[in-house]
């Protein structure tokens, strides 16, 4: 893809302040069974080049689905024209923070390339799962899926960066819907909304124990048909790691995106209550709450070598001993605020301009054994697996629904509860956290579909969490 450099040379000649170009080729394979039948096996190839330009102190971007030099140079010229149009409505020139410039390569470490696993093996695994899930007459629908992704990228810039990356992702999951009369309940495994994904190979799927858990998940869906409704009121709650991952995502991951904080997402996704003056001065949570962002955790779906403006992956502390101390940042935000770019600028393919996106946003594990925590929480509600999510445009007031809850009595999960939901105010909620389970229960949950931006971009992110307890949280049924 030497044509990227030709585009940079052309832009330098035409006169730009800065430019970069990314070639991205994405290959996907998805296998989906619905009700035990192969409804979707697909392979997709998507390839193109995105060119980002600063000219006359403003941004322009153009993308083209081509590998031809002429097309790429034409896209670069288009981006330059767009930047000049943008400059007609600017207040100040766009500036980029200084970062180290790299020429490097990065490859996701993989044991078993998901594209090397025969299609028949994937199909047969999903068929066996589906057979187990359908082993109860109250089951009315099932879906089981697996997929793999190869992403080849090359990034060059007018500053001399030249970075090649080969990323591999793999994931799987299933859901089972049970129905009796007017009551319908659904359970998913290992997590809702396409399961669990990682920057790993097929070994990630093999480690999930998909078959071993299918009977339990099916029986839980059926059990929920006759379970009591979750009671309404203030209760202590323990949140399983799968749900806590989404809690971290919505109430910490999004509000620490510095572009959002500075208002650039205000018209669509909203802003953030974590304003710059709060850095180092705001009690986000209790003293045991420690949250960090990284793009280096092995297997994390937000793990890579360099972001889409060439910044090397790293770890950044976000909440330390309950205090809010850091953001996800970009080169532009670095120049505006001084918060250093930390490898969080990512684009959905070649056709989009990079935005600040979550990487792996992880809640540091505590020291509790889960059994001890349950034993210590008589009367509490244990909540598991996200069903619905909603949070306000400043990321303060949230309400989450879960698939399953248990009332804890006598030191054990005693009574199943259906349609559980909980609601709260972000800093009050995290300040009520008084126990976090240890690293034995800690897992990085890969979420393959985080939306942000206009046009809408989907990012692949992850959250390391272990179960944690929160005191006196408002819980209730769905309504």
């Amino acid at each position: 893809m030497e044509h990227l450099k030709a585009a940079m040379d052309r832009l330098k000649k035409l006169g730009c302040d800065y430019a970069d170009a990314r070639w991205v080729e994405t290959k996907r394979e998805n296998v989906i069974l619905r009700n035990g039948k192969v409804e979707g096996v697909s392979r997709t190839v998507d390839s193109g080049v995105g060119v980002r330009v600063i000219a006359d102190g403003a941004w322009g971007f153009a993308g083209v689905a081509s590998a031809e030099e002429g097309d790429i140079v034409a896209a670069a010229e288009k981006a330059l024209d767009i930047a000049k149009a943008s400059a007609t409505a600017k207040k100040e020139d766009v500036r980029l923070g200084e970062v180290e410039i790299y020429q490097d390569t990065y490859d996701t470490p993989v044991e078993k390339d998901p594209f090397d696993v025969p299609l028949d093996k994937k199909v047969q695994l999903l068929i066996r799962i589906s057979e187990i899930l359908h082993g109860n007459e109250k089951v009315v629908a099932t879906e089981a899926s697996t997929g793999g992704i190869h992403i080849n990228k090359r990034f060059v810039s007018t500053e001399g960066a030249d970075i090649r990356q080969h990323l591999v992702e793999c994931g799987a999951g299933y859901e089972v819907t049970a129905k009796e009369g007017d009551e319908v309940q659904r359970r998913t495994f290992p997590n809702s909304f396409r399961g669990d994904w990682a920057t790993r190979g097929w070994e990630h799927v093999e480690d999930m124990k998909l078959l071993e858990n299918a009977e339990r998940i099916r029986d839980e869906a059926v059990m929920l048909l006759t379970a009591e409704e979750c009671p309404v009121g203030k209760r202590d709650i323990i949140i399983h790691g799968d749900q806590l991952a989404l809690q971290v995502h919505e109430s910490n991951g999004h509000p620490i995106e510095l572009d959002r904080v500075l208002g650039t997402e205000i018209s669509l996704a909203g802003g953030s209550f974590l304003q710059p003056e709060l850095v180092g001065n705001f009690k986000y949570g209790s003293k045991i709450v420690n949250i960090y962002a990284d793009s280096i955790s092995p297997g994390g779906l937000g793990t890579f070598g360099y972001d889409d403006e060439g910044v090397k992956s790293r770890r950044t502390d976000v909440v330390k001993n309950g205090m809010f101390i850091g953001y996800l940042s970009s080169r532009e935000c670095q120049a505006l605020t001084g918060h250093p770019a930390n490898g969080a600028m990512r684009a959905d393919g070649w056709r989009n301009m990079p935005l600040i996106r979550m990487i792996n946003i992880n809640l540091q594990p505590g020291d509790w054994e889960l059994e001890d925590l349950i034993a210590d929480s008589n009367g509490a509600i244990f909540l598991q697996t996200n069903k619905s999510w909603s949070i306000d445009d400043r990321r303060v007031n949230f309400k989450f629904g879960c698939e399953l809850a248990w009332e804890i009595q006598g030191g054990r999960l005693a009574k199943p509860l259906k349609n559980p939901a909980y609601t709260g105010i972000t800093p009050e909620f995290w300040s009520s956290c008084d126990a976090i389970c240890n690293d034995k229960y800690w897992h990085i949950w890969g979420i393959p579909s985080c939306g942000k931006g206009e046009p809408m971009q989907s990012a692949h992110v992850a959250h390391g969490t272990s179960p944690a307890r929160f005191r006196q949280i408002q819980v209730g049924g769905a309504a």
Partner: protein, 459 residues
Amino acid sequence: MTRLVGEDIFFSLADDIIRKCDDAACEITFFHNAHGLTRLANSVIHQNVHTDETSVDIRVSRGDRIGVSSTNLITPAGMLDCLMNALEIMKASEPLEGFPGPAPKAQYKETDTFVESTAGWGPDERAKVAREAIARGKEDGLTLAGAVETTVAEIAVANSNGVRAYQPLTSFGCNFVAMDGQKDDPPSGYGALTGRDVEKADFAGTYDRACRKAVLGRNPVEIEPGQYDVVLEAKAFCELIEWFNYISLSGKSVQDGMSPLADRFGQKITGDLVTMIDDAYGSINAGLPFDLEGVPRQKLVLIDHGVAKAVAHSRFTAAKEGAESTGHGFGPGAMPSDALPLNIRMEPGEHSLDEMVKMLDGGIQVTRFHYVNGLLDTRKAVMTGMTRDGAWLVEGGEVKHAIKNLRFTDSMLEAWKRIEAVEKECHSCAAWWSAIGAYDIPAVLIRNFTFTGKTGKGS
């Protein structure tokens, strides 16, 4: 000016692929999308982008075995690779019982979805609108954010049964949020517009509405959650209908048992004033006359005066019920079960928005919602979300003052039984598939709408 690829080139490429399929049946969908978008925030343009690409989805089938592959490499080699992938998958896959194969050849009605002037717009025209919006905001000391976008698209569907369907489309959209200051949670107002002909767009009226709402939103007071009569403006009501569509109005959601319409066809599930129709031909912005399987789009009465009537089907979900596709399938690029109405119209009523506000006493007027979610209990269509960009307490029919944001949680089946008035005019509200279709939605007055929480920073 974006150049159209044109049906001749698409169908020539399709003919070539179909010839190479031997005895396998073949369905092909081309999608050409040229999209320009200018975003503004903090009263400057901060993002200005353009992409132009064509992709193709190929589904081959032999009996009930299928294989699907997609690519945006629209070259002879890229297309051939794509076909070979699909054929390889088909051979290795398991049968999909009930897969009906490609649609038969059909005739389509004509719909007018392409406007030359919109295709001619570029970054300079979009930037001009952005500058004018920013200038309007300055008059009231407001900060502007939002986006202005234009799309030129082409959809071509072909299959080995002789289906050849082609439609060029244009669309534009804009949204503006005007803010009174840039603090954490400033008073704000919202305006949005979507359509096919950019020359007919009232951009000035749209950003002016956002600015007026922001001014009216100054000095909001906090009120306690509870049950309030509400007037939901079209955008707010549309967000509920959009989620209702997603959880309810496809054959798949009914066959899964998750839809509130499942087992309830012919029954009254909500109020008399709720009539929803999917109509590609009679909507404000005309829609596609065919679906992505090449089936003619039917006008579909989904809910008739509160009675559950029908949902959208693909060929596969229809075949499961021994019925004909309604012409709402998503085609080879999606699963055979995937279908949705794309041009839903809520039938208008008899009142103006002002008249409905005058019917409130101790009620709330809502501009729009944020982050609605309808998965809490889909059988009851329980939804939750936050008000955003302007909500006002109305007493004695007069707007009293702005209020801080509230969270609602309510069953839409129940809440829509309490719709007492419907606006006499529908507004075109953008959907994520806005180049293809949009929602036509009026404002509604709902009695005893349930708010369950309020915003706040906490400790």
